[in-house]
Symmetry: C2
Amino acid sequence: MSELFAKRAADLSGSAIRATFKLLADPEIISFAGGAPSPEVFPKKELAAISEAIFLEKGNLALQYGITEGYDPLREFVKARLVKQGVIGESESVVITTGGQQVIDLITKVLVNDGDVVVVESPSFVGGLNCFRSYNAEMIGVPVDKDGMNLEYLENEVLKKCKVKLLYTIATFQNPTGITMSLEKRKELLELASKYDFYILEDNPYCELRYRGEAVAAIKSMDEEGRVIYAGSFSKTLSPGLRIGFFSARSEILEKMVVCKQVTDVHTPVLNQLICYDFVTKYDYDAHIKKSCDLYGHKSALMLQCMDEYFPSYCDYTRPEGGLFLWCNLPEGFDGDALFKKGVENKVAFVTGSSCMVDQSKKYPCFRLNFSNSSDENIKKGISILADVIKSME
Amino acid sequence: MSELFAKRAADLSGSAIRATFKLLADPEIISFAGGAPSPEVFPKKELAAISEAIFLEKGNLALQYGITEGYDPLREFVKARLVKQGVIGESESVVITTGGQQVIDLITKVLVNDGDVVVVESPSFVGGLNCFRSYNAEMIGVPVDKDGMNLEYLENEVLKKCKVKLLYTIATFQNPTGITMSLEKRKELLELASKYDFYILEDNPYCELRYRGEAVAAIKSMDEEGRVIYAGSFSKTLSPGLRIGFFSARSEILEKMVVCKQVTDVHTPVLNQLICYDFVTKYDYDAHIKKSCDLYGHKSALMLQCMDEYFPSYCDYTRPEGGLFLWCNLPEGFDGDALFKKGVENKVAFVTGSSCMVDQSKKYPCFRLNFSNSSDENIKKGISILADVIKSME
């Protein structure tokens, strides 16, 4: 029986976050665990009208097989937006995927052999870590400083010691820390990629959700050697349930990813691409995003204010300028997993630090909080409870 | 540069069918190449009403993240249907996937190591073959007789000579031949699986499209050792563009596939699952399927009648009792790829035999015809042209 599964799948188990969600079925629990946008901003009425019209006017297109690369007008829309943002050039192209997660899957399948080294931020996005695990990649975590990945550590402790194939970064409003990599570090990272010959997956689903500060240029925008695969998504700005993501990469890599997408799900559902396209072109997409930013800006400020008020002073947390998450460090030795258990007993939940790490077997004194998907009342109440739980464990 | 891609991706190229589709952009071409259902049966009005109501009444559910296993009511609907058809038992469960193709991807990822042997029917479904290629499987083709896979060949030429991990069969209305495996062979195949310890992926997207003859029990229905992974789909009975497939497998395998699905696309779009569920429960799904069967039964009969009339007598073709395809064999030495080229010059297209084979580099004297997606007029005209092209190459 031990030989039933392929090597890559043998040790694979469900993500801790997923297990967490099942535990959170209790409706009394205040959950800061998810990574979902607020349903308050879902444009339900608009999409009701859009979807009805699509079936009546373009039903055959919506219901028939589509092409693997995606619905051309949506590809053009995304491309134009990325060109305008300076992320890609006019000669580059965009492919639509079934959510941003699929980009991680496709690029890993295309680039990473069993045992190849993938560098990740430590902590990083659980779905990314699990994807690399599912291809038997050798993952190495690099600490994240206040201005992004620690590049000295990266060069001295990783690049000088082993051959790296791919580096995975959520450079803007990082999941789970909310940290944004500085422009200087982005440039230096590209230099390192060139010097040590590795590729960069720049996963950028949160960039449009900036509610404070100045935008930092995408790593992809400065990539002169075709080393960056850029992933984006409509999951955080429109809807995660529709599963619309996208990527851009140099043509040789892009084409291989398209072939792999074809054998994975043939194409992203056409209906969803049409709905997305109609919404972003018939309505004011920027105004819609601004609504999300205002809401999340407010919620993050409220959560931080509550933390400032209730949390013990030894708690050290990030103050993100955008995105959906913040990250809290407790003193060394504090057991984040035990905190999680006790939190749930007291009806408040979050994502443990350990689930965001390469080595999930250790205890970590840190955790992730999501603020986008809780009411103001629950943010106040939940943070207050969590503060008490932390103090009770001193 | 040769080391850019992972081994599994290095030699991967787009499917011949996909290339074919691009070639077929010419609207004057009569295409028997696709595998698409007829838009005539798409329930566009019903889905317009359904989708509008979903956004207005269950918008938050449709637009938010869902669980990886799928929307529970839809899972229960599919399960009840499979239980009623005798395919699975009450204790088994069903997972929703992003199209039936994803089942092939997930089970290969979960079971097949680099170089493991996957047995396929020869000819087989291009999307299946390409998926196995994308995991570096060692594929072996086994000829398909009038009553399904040649099991003598399978045992003597394959199973006795090497260790097989997975066998892929489209046992009912096979793609591309339209052939259905006999009940006796299904039982014998299960015995061989037990004797030689391999697993069976029973890909069954066409089974509900039977317009003549008696249903044959699914291989899964007779599987006592948990060796069969059963894949189904709404692509041929409702809509391929919605990308809703499903699978059932013994829990240990099912759970591993769910973990792999989570890192691939998190979950199948919720909206599409809600639309599918509402259609199959609020409308008469069986009557809808019967409409498709009547249409495809008529179209296949018409195509066969035209072939009987126009094709030279040395053409040997299948007479399927269901599904979307029939298969035509020409005498040994006939070049199917050259026929394709000449066909397209004369504005008629099909899928070449070579694209359905493990070794695509050879010439094969055979081809696949799809009848579901052409008008009666085009069936008559296209078959007449094709007959002339064949004769011109004698």
